[in-house]
């Protein structure tokens, strides 16, 4: 069977199926973008070009790779071989670039009933 060419998946970006074994679903990316894109000055919905979710798909791959690598470093520091959400939180806290994720990892931690009395005090 002939192998799909690297960018063949892009042609069907409008279809809500995964475009490859490692590609992120474009429809989901577009949904999140629409939620965050806000409105134009005349009150209309902000439009999103067809290429924008494709660019984001690649950007998210790079982002996931970097976050995971840093989380893995935290896993190794703890002399373990399985990455847990605490390692992801550690990676976020140790990286200035990921400051915007601090609340997200805290929310995940709280939802799981984590013990972070010190953090709660620091926020107040």
């Amino acid at each position: 069977m002939r192998q799909a060419r690297p960018y063949s998946g892009m042609f069907c970006g409008g279809v809500s199926v995964r475009t490859g074994p490692h590609a992120l679903p474009l429809a989901r990316i577009k949904k999140i973008m629409k939620r965050s894109a806000g409105e134009t000055a005349d009150g209309g919905a902000r439009m999103i070009s067809g290429e924008a979710p494709v660019v984001f798909s690649k950007a998210c791959e790079l982002f996931i790779a970097e976050l995971t690598r840093r989380a893995w470093a935290a896993t190794l520091d703890g002399k373990r071989r399985t990455v847990h959400k605490e390692d992801v939180a550690t990676a976020v806290h140790n990286t200035d670039l990921f400051d915007f994720l601090v609340d997200v990892v805290m929310a995940v931690h709280h939802a799981a009933g984590g013990d972070d009395g010190d953090d709660a005090a620091a926020l107040e």
Binding site: A4, Y7, G9, F11, I32, S36, A59, L101, V108
Partner: protein, 97 residues
């Protein structure tokens, strides 16, 4: 995630969920910045370049060159003749079915 971890490593379900939340926030974060840019420039549509610019502004400079190249290739592929377009869609269709 799997590619970023060596073969002897594992990824717990809670870590995957956490990263998924982070990715959603990443998309929102960058999209807001790109949207603000469009508003200032009085444009309605967020383009790939707006996203790349926003990533650079928000500290993700390392991603910029790779994404510029990726966008360039995507645009080149997008303007290929219809026969190539159909072939690629057929390939994807057979893969999905």
């Amino acid at each position: 995630m799997r590619r970023a971890v060596p073969d002897n490593g594992k990824i717990a379900k809670d870590a995957k969920e956490s990263v998924q939340e982070c990715v959603s926030e990443f998309i929102s974060f960058v999209t807001s910045e790109a949207s603000d840019k469009c508003m200032k420039e009085k444009r309605k549509t967020i383009s790939g370049e707006d996203l790349i610019w926003s990533l650079g502004t928000l500290g993700f400079e390392e991603y910029v060159e790779a994404l510029k190249h990726y966008l360039k290739l995507y645009r080149e592929v997008s303007i290929k003749p219809p026969s190539v377009f159909s072939q690629s869609c057929l390939l994807l269709h057979s893969k999905v079915c």
